[in-house]
Amino acid sequence: MLLAVDIRKTFQSAERRFTLDVAFKATSQRVVLFGPSGAGKSLTLQAIAGLLRPDEGSITLHGNALFDSARGVDLKPQARKLAYLFQDYALFPHLNVRQNIGFGLQQGWLNPRKRITHPQIDYWLDALELKSVAGNHPAQLSGGQKQRVALARALVAQPQALLLDEPFSALDSALRQRMRRELSDLQTRLDIPMVLITHDPDDVAAFGDQVVQVSDGCVREDHPFAGYVRSEP
């Protein structure tokens, strides 16, 4: 993957002012943005996905500009072909597992039918062991199942890259280990580039082929992972 991010954005409110100033070049297939919460990791990921518009700068993926303030390029999130895994999974509560996974396969103003069949949906139901819960709604799923559904939904449209926002923080530690392994295997199998943001050093150890450290809205270091630094109290 070649993802180049170089963006700035200032948030101004009555109480505080926060400046996001992030620049890094991702060259490996697995990149981790690592830093404490509130450092601007999520904002960076949202900017890459097109959910947040930077004040200036550029975002390039595989040589194509997703955003470039100088040239007036700002692709809509719909056009970026990036899979985004939300921290709390953001599954559609009114749709069952099948409909959630098939959501992006169907354009138009109507949701997929309850019993929608599509080779891609069946493939992912099978691959992620979701067949038995295909007709269930998100409220009836366990944490691990929710994450698998969110992954399947994001991957079904064959995106260019996978963006993950604290993917394991909502899981208990035993499940966290297992889902890390599953995600790692899946990434290897699909050979899809991924950017993962986390504040958990264990995620860095598992996925950090390249680590970008973010703190206070700035990139502090961009280097191959060589141990993490605990922030001083």
């Binding site: 959910l51 970026r80 953001a90 559609f92 009114h94």
Partner: protein, 224 residues
């Protein structure tokens, strides 16, 4: 007694149309307000909520001024030979205006309760903005909107003041249920009045029960 059904049917027709119109315009306005980030929003919101606090007769007077033959809108419509004063369509407009805030308030609360993360998720999955609205936002707000629609229907069914001002009290043509009750009492026709009051009460209680059932389930569904 046979004649008692005529105002009931007229009321149902008027309230039905008023509700349908509000489900379009009230929901559209509610969605706009819920997404609009500007200082002017509160002013517009207050203006749109005015019908809730203004006396219906005052509203009716405003409508008469606007829609009457010499009114701004009425004068223009008159050129196409369309008259709203003393017609059941005029009653529909009166009921729509009076019930509008009820749909606006419920629908806006429902839209604001929809997790924006879900809309973002839909965008990253490649569906258009219109599809995001119809496939995510609207279904998740549907129960709240429906509850507002039922309240609006009940309010429109009971509309008296504004309707009387603009549509009058023409038996069989513009005499709605609540106006008929008033007329029956004025005329000393107690049996008709009793019957009409009973029908109105039963209908209103049924609607409120239905609305009450819809709202808590909405919050249940959200916690998914």
């Amino acid at each position: 007694m046979q004649q008692a059904w005529i105002p009931l049917l007229l009321s149902l027709k008027v309230a039905g149309w008023a509700t349908a119109l509000n489900l379009v315009f009230g929901v559209a306005a509610a969605f706009g307000l819920s997404r609009w980030r500007s200082g002017a929003r509160d002013v517009v919101d207050s203006l749109l909520m005015l019908p809730l606090v203004m006396p219906p007769t005052v509203l009716g007077y405003y409508l008469l001024v606007l829609l009457g033959r010499r009114g701004v809108i009425g004068g223009w419509l008159d050129r196409f030979d369309i008259q709203l004063v003393f017609t059941w369509q005029g009653a529909v407009i009166a009921s729509t205006v009076v019930a509008f805030p009820l749909v606006l308030k419920s629908a806006r609360a429902a839209f604001e309760a929809v997790d924006p993360q879900l809309e973002r998720a839909a965008r990253t999955l490649g569906v258009s903005e219109t599809a995001v609205f119809f496939r995510v936002t609207l279904p998740l707000a549907a129960r709240g909107i429906l509850a507002g629609g039922l309240l609006a229907f009940a309010r429109a069914l009971g509309e008296f003041g504004a309707t009387l001002m603009i549509a009058g009290n023409l038996p069989g043509r513009t005499q709605t249920l609540s106006v008929a009750v008033y007329s029956a009492v004025q005329a000393g026709d107690d049996s008709t009045a009793n019957f009409l009051v009973l029908v109105t009460s039963v209908t209103c209680v049924a609607i409120l029960l239905l609305a009450g059932r819809l709202v808590p389930q909405h919050t249940l569904l959200k916690s998914g």
